[in-house]
């Protein structure tokens, strides 16, 4: 995948806290070197409406928790060569999946979040994507090529994985796979 042209990189934000995107930005000065090698073609920090075609690397933050996200991730998978689960929510389900342990219905989840624990104006939101019965890690829906666990993952590991992939090598995750 090493080409004379810049690699086309995308990032997606599903059910996560944005911390993994923060960790991506937290590469600090390493971003300057990275910027010479990549073109950011889709991301919450880039104003692009539709996930483009022919993406080389896509980093995905967050668990798959609603029908829109399920559709989104399948769509992105078709258009991506290398798909990476970034962070514990994408890798394990993590915090968004805590609801899996105590309740199996989306109604109960919404009631808990928007009625029972609301201080003012309790109401269940409408015209938003429908929750799936459970929140899932990415690889339960699509083929994932690489995993970067961590909550958030250390920015050095994110940089290591991207750099290795851009150089056409396979990253070795031993000693770099700490959850939490």
């Amino acid at each position: 995948m090493v080409t004379a042209e810049k690699a086309r990189v995308a990032t997606i934000w599903l059910s996560g806290c944005s911390g993994c995107h923060m960790t991506f930005l937290d590469q600090d000065e390493a971003l300057i070197d990275l910027a010479k090698k990549i073109q950011l073609v889709y991301s919450p920090i880039a104003d692009v409406k539709v996930f483009p075609e022919n993406v080389d690397v896509t980093l995905v933050e967050g668990a798959v928790a609603n029908d829109h996200q399920e559709e989104m991730i399948k769509f992105a998978r078709e258009r991506t060569k290398i798909l990476i689960s970034l962070g514990d929510c994408a890798v394990t389900g993590n915090v968004p999946a805590l609801r899996n342990a105590w309740v199996k219905s989306d109604e109960a989840v919404l009631k808990r979040a928007y009625i029972e624990t609301a201080d003012v104006n309790p109401q269940i939101p409408t015209e938003v994507p429908e929750l799936l019965p459970k929140a899932h890690p990415l690889h339960e829906f699509v083929k994932v090529d690489y995993y970067i666990p961590g909550c958030p993952p250390p920015s050095g590991v994110v940089n290591y994985v991207i750099t290795e992939l851009l150089a056409g090598r396979t990253p070795n995750m031993e000693g770099k796979s700490k959850y939490g």
Partner: protein, 234 residues
């Protein structure tokens, strides 16, 4: 060969150890590291977690190093691609069996399961997780048990029985339904016999038993059983 010793090969290296030594201790005495999880120095080996499985030349079976005594002429392999894959799978099965969410766990950064996953490069779990919601008992004045995080290593049971000599902890049920129980399956706060020594929390490899409002990195002490035994035997 002198009387009372056994000579064998571990990873191609010839070693001589006292008769009856386990493969794990023979390896350790010769600087060879075999990963463990349920094993704890000072407690009777349990052989339940299957992390320390090794290959022995001439048999297709794998053996738990912590519970297998050495034999003369034995050729043990502690590191191979097959063992690496098996150990990774054991960690994945443990992570999927109950509810392990490191980011919100009291044992985060002080957890042996988390550390093992990191060392072995278990960067994801191929099995669907069970997301259990088992009973959490916080009725004791300081000790808490969250059974969702328990990996059934039985260190707590063994330390309570063998070191503290109380044996208020035990197991009920079988397989995935196994549970750590207190006394005859009652609330911890109702136990007349718990001495509140806290050794169970000290040896718990994960965040299943902990001291309320105390960092687990402070609580944990892997050497407690070994230390007490060494003092007793002086």
């Amino acid at each position: 060969m002198s009387i009372g010793t056994t000579t064998l090969k571990i990873d191609g290296i010839e070693v001589t150890v006292p008769e009856g030594t386990t493969i794990l201790n023979a390896a350790k005495a010769n600087g060879i590291n075999i990963p463990t999880l349920c094993y704890l120095e000072g407690l009777t080996p349990w052989g339940g977690c299957r992390i320390c499985m090794v290959e022995i030349h001439g048999t297709p079976k794998l053996f738990p190093a912590c519970a297998t005594p050495v034999n003369t002429g034995m050729e043990v392999i502690t590191q191979s691609e097959k063992l690496r894959e098996y150990r990774k799978m054991v960690v994945q099965l443990l992570l999927s069996e109950r509810t392990h969410v490191c980011s919100v766990c009291v044992a985060n950064n002080a957890c042996e399961l988390q550390k093992l996953a990191d060392e072995l490069g278990v960067d994801h779990v191929m099995f669907e997780r069970n997301w259990t919601s088992q009973e959490i008992d916080s009725t004791h004045k300081s000790l808490v048990i969250d059974r969702n995080r328990c990996i059934l290593c039985t260190r707590c049971i063994r330390v309570c029985d063998e070191i503290e000599g109380v044996h208020i902890l035990d197991l009920k049920n079988r397989g995935k339904d196994s549970q750590i129980i207190i006394d005859l399956d009652q609330k911890w706060g109702d136990s007349d016999y718990c001495t509140s020594c806290g050794k169970c929390a000290k040896v718990c490899p994960v965040g299943a038993i902990y001291v309320e409002s105390e960092a687990l990195s402070e609580t944990k002490d892997k050497h407690i059983a070994e230390f007490i035994l060494s003092r007793r035997n002086r």
